[in-house]
């Protein structure tokens, strides 16, 4: 496994919520296939590109073993169409309907090639990441290996376990909250937290990089309490500032978006009042829990999962499918790249 996941010199897509991944995604150029190269080279380039994101921590062989050249798809059917016609009109004339394909208007294509990595999404570690229980695929893998993940109520320590439709998996609540929450501040930052807070933000403090090594954050209890106090203090100040802001804003004329933002801010502040969200120094994350920074641009839950974040349980409903104009398997790459990579994995080079 490579040591450094996110490099700034060459921006690449990574399956992680770190701010480095976000910055790289914000400026990465559109992946293109060089037209002047040979077909073999084009396939190689595409394959190398997609492997930066999909199963980056797996060996090529591990992925090739689960690769399937068949893609799952589904067709949206309309009750009224099924009731009105028996399908005979589609075979009229010379076999393709009286008007041919024009009779259906603009038909959206089914992006089969964007589904290339659907078997990857079946893997337990990937599903844990997609259900937003882990901040990166690597962290999800670590959760599985460390025994924090259960499948159908039984501990499953194989990240390569392929979920079957109907499987229910769960992650230890503390671990999921650790992955999605703010990290505990270090002792150094806490001592002058109120003043140095803003400065620390811009400083070279790659907290996103250190995912998974929460064990290191352990410290003596007395000091921890000091940290929590400092945190609570800074939080309180922020809350006051924001409430005065919101009072000012509510008096002025606001756009709909501004109102939404203000409400969101208030809701986030109100997280502290949640009776379940208590100050607890024994937790591996900062308490009271708050969402980690730069998480929103990565937030989505694919439709093949049904997730309950109250208990950190999720159900793998079915395999990801392609539909007209929609591919359910998440991927940052355009269809052309995935198609070339597909051709590489077909092994007819």
């Amino acid at each position: 496994m490579r040591r450094k996941l996110n490099a700034l010199r060459k921006p690449q897509f990574r399956q992680s919520w770190s701010k480095y991944a976000l910055y790289n995604m914000s400026r990465a150029p559109q992946p293109r296939i060089p037209a002047q190269k040979t077909f073999f080279q084009q396939k190689w380039v595409a394959k190398a590109e997609v492997r930066h994101y999909h199963g980056e921590h797996l060996t090529n062989r591990q992925w090739q073993n689960i690769f399937r050249h068949t893609m799952k798809a589904s067709v949206p059917m309309q009750n009224s169409q099924l009731a009105l016609n028996n399908g005979g009109e589609m075979a009229m004339g010379r076999g393709s309907g009286l008007q041919g394909d024009e009779g259906y208007g603009r038909v959206r294509t089914v992006p089969y090639m964007s589904q290339l990595f659907w078997p990857m999404e079946r893997r337990l570690d990937m599903a844990v990441h997609r259900a937003m229980f882990a901040s990166s695929a690597r962290q999800a893998r670590q959760f599985v290996v460390h025994g924090f993940v259960k499948v159908n109520g039984k501990k499953m320590v194989h990240p390569g376990y392929m979920l079957n439709p109907g499987d229910m998996f769960s992650v230890d609540q503390d671990q999921a909250l650790f992955a999605t929450g703010q990290p505990k501040r270090s002792i150094k930052n806490a001592e002058g937290a109120t003043e140095t807070d803003a400065a620390a933000e811009g400083e070279v403090k790659a907290q996103g990089e250190g995912e998974g090594d929460k064990g290191k954050a352990e410290a003596k209890e007395g000091k921890e309490e000091a940290v929590e106090e400092a945190e609570a203090k800074s939080e309180g100040e922020e809350a006051e500032a924001s409430s005065s802001e919101s009072k000012q804003a509510s008096t002025e004329g606001e756009t709909e978006e501004e109102i939404k933002r203000r409400e969101a801010k208030e809701k986030l502040k109100a997280l502290k009042e949640d009776p379940n969200n208590l100050l607890d120094v024994t937790k591996p994350y900062a308490t009271p829990w708050r969402p980690r920074d730069f998480m929103a641009p990565f937030a989505f839950i694919p439709r093949y999962l049904e997730v309950n974040h109250n208990t950190c349980h999720a159900v793998y409903l079915r395999h990801p499918v392609a539909k007209p104009g929609l591919a359910e398997a998440p991927s940052p790459y355009p269809e052309e790249i995935l198609q070339m990579a597909f051709n590489w994995y077909l092994r007819r080079r």
């Binding site: 480095y20 914000s26 099924l82 009731a83 964007s114 969101a264 986030l268 997730v307 109250n310």
Partner: protein, 318 residues
């Protein structure tokens, strides 16, 4: 081995071990540019704003928010270069509670709830399972991370319970106000249907869906969809069958399905009574007639479960 001497406390021990030069730390460096972006245009992504904030909803050069009316697709697309992957809404907590109540308290079938709320059958079943787990978790004295759900609802697209559902609107099919949550009549493409076939028929013959299905060895699409009842209902509506008649027929169909289910249960119980199925702890033994020497463990035949090269990851968890 003798114990190691403690490290000497000299001035060398105090020096910083960072190999980063001052040039690399500056604002013109790659890192400096990153933090400038994160505190500048990227600051909008730092905390949730009550609606999805994807990179695609901002212009990549000016970092101004795009016009939502003109390109609505940009606001549901998490990855800038994959226009086929979209962030689809999730069910709100109130919606999930309603599904659970209808199935568990009001005793509706999963299929009925699916048709009434326009949520797929598997999802309704999963929501009920997850809610059940939640109740058991609470009963055991566990705590719910409701704050996590609240925070995620500030960054995910969320669909709330349709207004028609709250007012006990019994009438069939689909959410009233904000459109259906998902299309419940999604027909999965069967692997048998991936074949290309050339069937010569006479021009005068009407070649229907049922005929096409027969060619592929599949039932027609009207039967294969998750809710064939809804198709029948739509057919009856187009045939202008009066409403009370339609309701009566649907009730009859529901009754038939229920009786079929009960008969199935009776059959299973019968098998169990005859000791053909033994349930011992987590195991369920299905006993069948077998001839000696044809099945089971064979003496002298090696079991490959410890052999190199065999995949030992389980394929299912019961």
């Amino acid at each position: 081995m003798p114990p190691r001497p403690p490290p000497m406390a000299t001035s060398i021990a105090k020096r910083t071990f960072s190999t980063t030069t001052t040039l690399q730390k500056g604002p013109d460096s790659a890192r400096g540019a990153m933090f400038a972006w994160l505190s500048g245009p990227g600051a909008v992504f730092k905390q949730p704003t009550g609606e999805p904030q994807y990179i695609t909803s901002y212009d990549r050069s000016t970092w101004e928010r795009k016009d939502k009316a003109r390109n609505p697709d940009a606001f549901v697309q998490p990855y800038p270069f994959n226009r086929f992957f979209k962030s689809q809404p999730v069910l709100s907590d109130a919606f999930r509670d309603e599904i659970y109540n209808r199935v568990k308290r009001q005793g509706h079938s999963v299929r009925q709830v699916s048709a009434a709320l326009s949520v797929s059958i598997e999802r309704v079943a999963a929501v009920v399972r997850l809610k059940q787990v939640e109740k058991e978790h609470l009963a055991k004295g566990g705590k719910l991370s409701t704050f996590l759900t609240t925070a995620l609802n500030q960054m995910l697209p969320v669909v709330d319970l349709p207004a028609s559902a709250t007012g006990r609107g019994g009438g069939g099919g689909g959410a009233g106000g904000g459109g259906a949550f998902e299309n419940i009549q999604e027909l999965p493409i069967h692997s048998l249907a991936g074949r290309q076939v050339f069937v010569p028929t006479s021009e005068s013959r009407e070649f229907t869906r049922a005929d096409a299905g027969k060619e592929f060895g599949l039932p027609p699409a009207d039967v294969m969809v998750p809710h064939p009842d809804l198709v029948t209902l739509a057919k009856e509506r187009f045939e202008s069958v009066p409403l009370h008649e339609r309701i009566a027929r649907q009730e009859e169909r529901d009754r038939l399905e229920k009786s079929w289910r009960e008969a199935e249960k009776v059959r299973a119980d019968e098998r169990k009574r005859q000791k053909k199925v033994l349930e011992v702890g987590r195991w369920k033994w299905c006993l069948k007639e077998a001839e000696t020497g044809k099945v089971g463990f064979r003496y002298g035949f090696p079991l490959p479960d410890r052999k190199k090269g065999h995949v030992k990851i389980p394929t299912h968890v019961s």
